[in-house]
Amino acid sequence: MVRLVIAVGLLSAALLAFQLVLMQLLSIVQWHHFAYMVISVALLGFGASGTFLALAREWIMKRAELALPLLMILCGTAMAIVVGVSQSSGVRFDSYLLFVEREQIGRLLLTYLAFFTPFFLGALAVGIVFVRNVDQIGKFYASNLLGSGLGGLSAVVLLWMFAPQELPAVVAFLPVLSGLLIVSAENRRGILPVGAAALALSAYFFYAPSQLQLSDYKSLKRTLNLPHAQIVHEQSSPYGLVQIVSSPALRYAPGLSLAYRGSLANRDVVFNNADWFGPVFAAQRHVTAHVLRYTTFALPYAMQERERVLVLQAKTGMFVAQAFEQHAREIVAVEAHSVAVSALKRELASSTDSLFFHSAISVHTVDPRTFLQSDTVRYDLIVLPTLDAFGGTSGVYALQEQYLLTKEAFREMWNKLTPTGAVCITSWMDYPVRNPLRALATLVETLADEGITQPRQHIAAVRSWGMVTFVMKRSPLSVQEVQNIRNFCSSMMFDPVLLPDINSLERNRFNIMQDTSFFSLVDGILSDRRKTIYSEYDFNLAPSTDDQPYFSQFLKWGSVPRIREFFGEHAFPFLELGSLIIAVTLVQIIIVAVLLILLPLFKKKMMGAGRWNVILLFGGLGLGYMFVEMVLIQRFVLFLGHPIYATAAVIGAMLVCSGLGSWVSSRLSPSLLTRIGLIVAFSILVYAVSITPILHYSITLPQWLKIVLTFLLIAPPAFVMGMPFPLGLRSLSQQREGVIPWAWGINGCMSVIAAPLAMLLAVEFGFSVVIVCAAACYALAFAVGRQPQFD
């Protein structure tokens, strides 16, 4: 019994760690939004295993002694090889080509299948254990959850220790070992050689891992096509795979003024998960013609001198170098990516002229919002990172939470400004124009919230041929500043977009826009009509909030037909790729979930109201648990300062505490299901209203205390959330034991749907709606589970 409990824990740890490893690998070769695909595919494995058990229960239970260790070993084997399979030339898909080549759809499905296999095999083994030991279900469910929680935490450690391509083979050892742990004496001769072969295979793939094949459209891949381009430094970490590339053809001067006549030095560039992270700039106080003076980024310095500058999300420090070159006396850089910061200080120290060691510069490796909430200094200038990549990113970042660009974040920045201080944000000009308009809308609403009714007096903006920079000043723009801006524009061949006394002719002088609607939209946002602009424009321009922190999500579903008409069938998917992929994922997952759950239900002819009770109870638990988990991760990102730690802490704490709850539930009567359910639903609602203020007021605590507080805050609800599922299973087993695999499958499949569904709900309606939906799921589950009637 003890060995079996340990084996389930090890297997569960491997399954969760493998999930996180796959997310990281897909983020490298494709884009981060496939993380949701991985979550769905993993949970699909659990759902499908339940259905398989429902259909082949008798057959497999008779052979359980042999099947259990074999399934675990095969699960490990599959983990070792599926990444290689997915990267092979016949299977590898490219998300950019999904809407160009039909063949790519088939390749994506093959990738689904490849990734699905280890989860299915592992989950089937867990399911068999549950069915065989239903009277001890609390212990095994606890082992499953505890193992998963520890697996999540160990994945974070493994990401520090091994290269991403080595990780599948590392994780694969665990299921093989768990299989070998439970081999019975009579099966030893047959299974041990299989286990040994599996271990040898894992070892082989560890020492000779499959090379990761990046999408041709990833920034790193394109950069490596440049002459003499080479990766000069590489570091794996939970933050991502950091790679530094050097090439004589790499230069960076975004939207450079046409007045610039000098040459441009080549620069090293840092990539994170094969995405552009930033160019490396050196301290160049002695060079008067610093190239950044010839970009619109220089606007705040052209207005007036800035002594104390805060650079948020500083990345590779381009704006730090600029502030330094502009003679700022004190520069505070905030960048959460500690590995990138470490590389800038060590491997890139010569390229930066040891910029980050200068006494004027201090670097904080913490999330910018966490810094804003805990810092007490006031600044003359706060600089934000540039919005959007050059020429747009086809909406691939639409689903990325950007807490630094919400209304709440701008309010916090406002409160950090000196009386004449300013916030600066730059955006590429996209078409149809979206990013600059949303940035402006956010600035205007920040001013409105501060009671300022004349935003034109506080916002200046200038435009080059490709970029626009906004500066929002705490006090009204002075006459001298306005004159300085005009001089700056004139010498750099830039055009002012916003000044208190702007005239339409000067807006379109050097960089003429054929489509002048940009100016009328800008004026509209500055006027009382801005809510009308938000509702009438075909893209969503309303500022993002902490509840809906998706700054780059512009798609309005109601506008889709019109946008398609404008840009054509082939071009449309590339306008909002991220949103479409999550929608496509959800549709695919629902279809597969229906195929896996509903069809077998009909085959087994589960009659009467009992069927719906099972579906609603276990489906509701699956949806509700995942919804809560996803929202809590988001809430703790700001508190703990980094998504990776928030994810590890929340998943770890939730699974461990739920595991304990599950363990305790084995001593409770199934009749308590209703009471516990009400406690869960109630605590979720209490969380919805109380967690944000609690976290806000405790954000200044030391990090170790915040981790303790995180655990204390998550533990109570997670503990009780671990009870309903095993209690429900026991209740079910007392009435209809044969239905247990279905309950397991339904729970798994609803969890599958929950991942992309929670994402879509959060993007469209906000996290508060997701958490209310979670409470509703539990309430619904317990309404039907009040007097569980499964017959």
């Binding site: 001067a253 000098g262 050097f510 826009m513 404008f566 082939h570």
Partner: protein, 225 residues
């Protein structure tokens, strides 16, 4: 009989199975969207686009969209090629510099109109096949160089027009330098499969101005006015 058979075989070999597709492309995708320069339209009718796309994409060569050519690069949508060509107003006697040869299609279109096309491709794996293809198709007035286009081609300049087919986050100062007085440079801004805006740079003495153009296919994107 043998002569007749040889004649039919020769006709089959010499005929262009994509001629009607190309004609339709010019009529429905290009002329219909207000590209009216006769030299441009003639060049678009003449250049065999299907020869510039990978074998697996031949059937889609005349579709109204960009297509992948490998190495993360694309051959632009036919309309964008025609629109960019028309914008620089190419004429006989002109010297044109192209940055980003890709598969060589834009260079071939320009070579149909102007005297000399100098085209630079930074990716070696694309430059060599493009040079071979242009040569085999008889475009002796199009010269391909495998180099970093940032520096332009000073020895061959100054140029009447510069066509930058690869999106760039800044306009290289050497290219502005190598533009003749009254010369025009066109640069696309956009993602690989979705060219959204084009920027036209015009040089008049010391004055340099840019114009953000919207391909006529996309009318100004406004509502509620």
């Amino acid at each position: 009989m043998r002569m007749l058979l040889a004649f039919f075989v020769a006709v089959l070999l010499l005929s262009d199975p994509f001629e009607s597709a190309r004609e339709k492309m010019v009529r429905t995708q290009i002329a219909a969207r207000d590209v009216s320069d006769s030299a441009t339209l003639r060049a678009m009718r003449t250049v065999q686009r299907h020869r510039f796309v990978p074998e697996s994409w031949r059937d889609a060569a005349y579709d109204d969209r960009p297509l992948p050519i490998g190495y993360g690069q694309t051959i632009s949508q036919p309309y964008i090629v025609a629109y960019m060509t028309e914008l620089v107003k190419p004429q006989r006697g002109h010297r044109v510099l192209e940055i980003g040869t890709g598969s060589g299609y834009q260079a071939a279109v320009l070579a149909e109109i102007v005297d000399s096309v100098f085209t630079i491709e930074i990716i070696t794996e694309l430059a060599k096949p493009a040079a071979d293809l242009l040569k085999s198709l008889g475009y002796g007035n199009a010269v391909v160089k495998n180099a970093d286009g940032y520096y332009g081609w000073k020895e061959k300049g100054p140029f009447d027009a510069i066509v930058v087919t690869a999106a760039a986050e800044h306009i290289p100062p050497p290219l502005v330098e190598q533009l003749k007085d009254d010369g025009k440079m066109i640069i696309p801004v956009g993602t690989p499969f979705f060219v959204q805006t084009l920027t036209l740079v015009e040089k008049r003495g010391k004055d340099i101005s840019t114009k953000s153009l919207i391909p006529v296919r996309f009318v100004p994107f406004t509502r509620g006015k």
